[in-house]
Each structure stands twice: as C-alpha cells, then as structure tokens.
C-alpha cells in the first residue's frame, strides 16, 4: 500500500480518493476538462454520450442532498445509468459489512462507485478491494477528504481569480472535523497558492495543522488582512453540544463572517461556502447573498467538475 492508491501503473487517475498527493497536471486536467463541460450544462440538450452503457452507483452511507444530486446529474448528463443507494437505511442496518455491500454491488456489474461514508478511510478501503476495472470516487469520508468539493472550489477560484500563484486564501471555521478543508488545503498548496490560512479557535483545529502547509490564525481581524479568497466552513450544531464551543452566538461574534469583517479582506475578495449554510452562525445573510458571494456558482460548477472526474476515470 505504499504506492499512491489513486493512480494506476501509468500514473493516471484510477480512483479519486483525496486531493493529497495528486500531481498538479492531473488537477489541472480535471479543471480544464470541467471547463469544457461547463458549456454543456448551459446547452438546450444537456446530454453527451461519454458514459453510455456504464453504471454509476451512488453509495451513500451518510445522508446528503446536494452532493448526491450533483453526482446524479453529472452522471446522467454523461448518459450513464445511475443507481442511488441510501445504505444508511438499508443493508448495513441489517448487519451486512461495508465490503459485503460493495462486493454485492460489484457483482451487479457496477462501473463506478461514488461513495460517502462517515468513517475516514472508507473510500480507500473500498478502492483497495474492488476489481481493477471499477473506479471509486470519494464523495466524503469522515473527516478525511471530499476531493470533488475541493476541485469545484478550485474551479470557482480559477474562474474568478485566474491565477493561483498570487493568491492568499483563508479557510475559516471547523477545520478539525472538516473533510472539505483538508481537501481544499491539499489542492490549494498543490496548485501553487503561496499562502493558505486557517482561522479558527484552537478547539476546532487539528493539533499539527501547520504540517499541512498552512498558516494558523485565531483572530479574524489579523487573518482576513489582504485575503483574496474566503472559504467559510459549515459549523455543525453538535459542536455546541460537546465542549468544542460555548454557543453559536459567541462563535458568530468572533468567527462569523459579517460585511464588516469582510471589509478587512481585499476589496475584490470572493466569499465561498461548501454548503449547506448556517446563516447567522458562520455567515451573515447579507454576505451570503451579497455581491462578493460566489456560493451559488460553486453549486453550478460542481456538476461540470463531477462530469470531468467521471469522464476522466472512465477513459483511464
């Protein structure tokens, strides 16, 4: 297991499990391919036949609306057959193991699995046990990775900022529990962003987060200075139930994004959020709906990026 399990022996993408360790050429290839698909989604007839006859299984062991839907739309626009499985409510609750579930579905001649699971490493484990002709896309595993989200964020950043090499990007919020943040950090550093900051109270940061190549801030006033791209993370309510945070109100006061705090960043800074948003907790409505927000564009681009990933995998 020392070899990067995402790449085949020719160095091509076999699975998409994490943005970590992917060469910049593959990241750019995905973004460029997505660029060509972005047009398709605006056409009258939105289908192209790249995945005709292929079966894509959406395997969601954890509930999701947006990610599952955009994967489904992406697969259908590529003319694939899409089977949605909400496993949280089916076999696993009857005691079937994860690998048994996957093996059963492989026996139904799946070509691609899109997997979401609440445990870090679930997608890696599935990828290491499926037949070599099957491709696995990680749609979120525990706190570990959510690579297509990070890629669509990179796509969005490139659309608005053109070049990665002169940007300062800040990720604000619950880094500790966020698979999105981890995938964004790896993608940003690989694509050459010179300064990635994380801004959060210490209870929401992994203890060795600086080893991921980021600068750590605990204060929004300092952290947002000269920032080009602001990524706000969703704060889960359960953080307030444990001892991570005292209250949503205090969090909003110190780490929520308001118009006032946004003014500390560069004038043309863009505001992103992977969704779903907690208005009034991590982001004020005026900012979420304001002119610097590109949050809805992220969702639209998500389809093109997922089409790009699926078509590249199917071609390898």
């Amino acid at each position: 297991m020392n070899r990067n399990p995402q790449l085949n022996k020719h160095g091509e993408l076999q699975h998409l499990l994490t943005t970590e360790g992917l060469p910049v050429s593959i990241l750019l290839h995905i973004l460029d391919t997505a660029e060509s698909f972005a047009g398709v989604t605006e056409r009258e007839v939105k289908k192209i036949p790249l995945l005709r006859g292929k079966s894509v299984f959406n395997l969601f062991f954890e509930s999701s609306t947006r990610t599952r839907t955009t994967f489904e739309i992406a697969a259908k626009r590529l003319s694939a057959d899409v089977i949605n499985l909400n496993i949280a409510a089916s076999a696993q609750s009857k005691g079937e193991t994860l690998l048994d579930t996957v093996n059963n579905l492989s026996a139904m001649h799946a070509d691609m699995f899109v997997v979401r699971h609440l445990q870090s490493g679930a997608a890696h484990m599935i990828a290491s046990h499926v037949r070599p002709e099957i491709h696995v896309i990680n749609a979120g595993d525990g706190r570990h990775a959510h690579p297509t989200q990070a890629l669509l964020d990179m796509f969005t950043i490139r659309r608005y900022k053109k070049d990665f090499h002169n940007l300062r990007v800040a990720i604000v919020g619950d880094i500790l529990h966020s698979r999105v943040a981890r995938s964004q950090i790896h993608a940003l550093t690989t694509l050459g962003v010179p300064e990635v900051r994380v801004i959060a109270p210490k209870t929401l940061l992994p203890s060795k987060v600086e080893r991921l190549g980021v600068r750590v801030y605990h204060d929004m006033v300092q952290g947002l200075k000269d920032i080009d791209v602001l990524i706000m993370l969703r704060l889960q309510n359960e953080r307030m139930l444990g001892a991570s945070l005292p209250s949503a109100e205090e969090y909003f006061k110190y780490y929520g994004l308001t118009q006032e705090k946004l003014s500390l960043a560069k004038q043309d800074a863009i505001v992103m959020h992977p969704g779903p948003m907690n208005r009034g907790v991590e982001i004020d409505s005026a900012v979420a709906d304001g002119k610097q927000s590109v949050i809805l564009s992220q969702v639209t681009f998500g389809i093109a990026v997922r089409m790009a990933v699926m078509s590249i995998l199917a071609g390898n």
Binding site: S120, H124, M125
Partner: protein, 424 residues
Amino acid sequence: MKIHIKNGRLIDPKNGIDAAADLYIATGKIVAVDIIPAGFQDCRVIDATGLIVCPGLVDLSARLREPGLEYKATLESELEAAAAGGITSLACPPDTDPPLDEPGLVEMLKHRTKNLDKVHVYPVGALTQKLKGERLTEMAELHDAGCVAFSHADASLANLHVLMQAMQYASTFGFSVWLRPQEASLTNNGVAHDGEIAARLGLPPIPVCAETIALSNIIYLARETGVKVHLCRISSAEGVAMVRTAKQQGLPVTCDVAINHVHLSEMDIGFFDTNCHLVPPLRSLRDRDALCTGLIDGTIDAICSDHAPVDEDAKLLPFGQAEAGSTGLELLLSLAFKWAETINIPLIEALSKVTLAPARILNIDGGHLTPGAPADICIFDPEEYWKVTALTIKSQGKNTPFLGRELPGRVKFTLIDGNIVYES
C-alpha cells in the same frame, strides 16, 4: 531425556555470556554450560552450528483469547504459535470473556494450558470485578489459583479511589499491579496519535497527555500505597521521561513497551492500514526514538509482543471501526533481533529485553541459562530470513503491520523443561 546442544553461539544475558559453548540438559534442567558433566551420555544431540542458543523468550502480554473469544484464537493455536516464536513463558492479560476475575476461571485456564504441555502460561488476574472499575476481585484467592499479578488490561479505571484501594489491597499481599496508562476521557473516541497523520487523514486523535496524565496518577498512587507497579505499553517520549524520573526517585516501578512501537510510528499508517490500528496508538518518530533510548538506558525494562489476534473481518473495516491489535508471538524474536541490528546494539542486550528482564518482572526462574535452571531454550538461525504471511503465521490472528515483510531470525528449536516442543 538428555540433550546436548553443540557448536552453537550461546547468548545468556544473565551470565554475560556471548560465546561459542555447548549446553547440556538432563531431567528438564540445564546441567552444564561448555564443560561436559562427568558421566553425561547423550540421548539427543542438536547440532547448532551457525545458530544462536539463547534462553526461551518471556512475553509479558499475549492474549490467548480463552475463555470466550475462541473465534479470534484458541489456546491450541496460540500456544503453538508461541512455541514457534521461541517463547517459553508468557503472561496473559485478564481481558477475556468473562474476564479472569474468579479463581475458577484461572484454575480452568491453568489446567487447560498444562494439558497442552507447551508454553508456561502465567495468568494476570483482573484488578476489579468484570474489569468494571468498581469492586475489587478476590486477589488473594486468584493468586492461590495461579495469578502472578493483577491488571486492568485496556479497560478504563476512571475512579481513582477504587484504583488507590486496589493498590493498597494488592500491596497488603505483596502483589504487583500492572497498569497501562491511558486516561479514558482524553482518549475519547480517538484511534490515532494526535499528530501529523491524524491531522492529514482526519482520524480522531489520542493526545500524548492521555498517557502522561494517567501515568502521573499511577505514579503518585504508587508512592502513596507502596505497591509494586508494572507499567505496560508505554508509548510516548514524555511518558518515558516520567518513568525515568520515578525510577531515579527509587519508586518500585518497572515498565514495558510493545515491539511494534519500537519499530513503527504513525507514518506507517500510510493509507489507512488497519493493521497499524494499535492500542496504544503508534506515535511520532520522536516518540519511537525516545522509546529506544529508554530501552537502552534501562528506563524501559522489557519488550513484549502485545499479541492480540483479531479475526480478519474485524480488520476489513474503515480504520476507525477496525478492531485494534496485532498478532505478535511469532514476530517478537525476529523483531527484537532486527531492532538490535537497526540501532546497532549488541544482540545480548536486545535479547535481555525479551528474556531475562521480563522473567524478573514475572518473578519466575527463567530467562537465563544458569546450570540448575529449567531448560527453556530458543535456538534460532540469525542468517535466515522468513516472510511474514498468513500462511507462515501459525497464530489464528494474521494481522500485523509487518505482513508481507521479510524478517531476519528463524526459530529452529524451542525447548521447554528440556522437551523439544517446536522444531522446524
């Protein structure tokens, strides 16, 4: 049966011997080293040319999974594995199902192992009933039944008042208490060292202070109660430093480390290798180096296999859900040997950590080759490499971070009480 082991390289840490010497065995005992006793007639000659002859290994922690967990392993499978690994004595922790908290269970275990006529098994009794951390077990009765010490295995003992009373009670009878320092409330649901790898892979972390805070509690309570304490599976640099200080202050503590932790670090988790899901977690490279230093300077007395056979399905799960533990009986010798080579220390010192030192902690007559001692002996080929695979491992548990690797040091013979119990 009389046995003459000839032409071997004899390594006996207790007597400081590392030299070519023959060994003579009769009526289950070592009768002479190097010089043939008068009137000794061979029944069996073992030609140990090119081989190392050392005391049989003594393992301070090997889960045999009986009673109750036979789907993971059985006494038959694990004692055979132990013999194949050159181990002649082992201590088994009380975390069976039910736990070893009643004399009847211990007597049954002793009886079963005796009938198998292989490795000497020394049960470690439960410190509290059902390992729940509430009520004390009948330690004196358990001792009479065969328990050599009392521990809480990996179960949490949150109530410090109970721990203190357990220590006081054990110390009344002069029993040792074996404890693995880990504060459960800080371990939380953690599965990996709170470091770079946990940060990268998004694995729930276990901070070092989960070990040091528990260690601090244990050390203060040991001082208060005067009980003999053995600290199990130390994992961090800070933990080693605390044990070093406690020993310097003259506290009656001993300490062991698991062999995996001597070789590996969090880095070995790689892409979620569940065979590296261990308890305590593999920590940083700095911690691993401190464990090695602690072994060399004597802060850490012994190395154990921390053998924990896990059934295959329990490892075929995402990292956080996979069962912790690794098989180790058959790897202990090879890995101790490899450790000596890697950090370039005399083999006699490394072997001492898996023979003499653990025998002293167990307070048994073993781990040495003095004439008169039981003939518990391991003979191995230092030049032969073997590949760790599901087929080469006899233990029912095939789970180890070293799966697929080639290791040096192949056991050729294992003798217990003068009987050849393993021969390859």
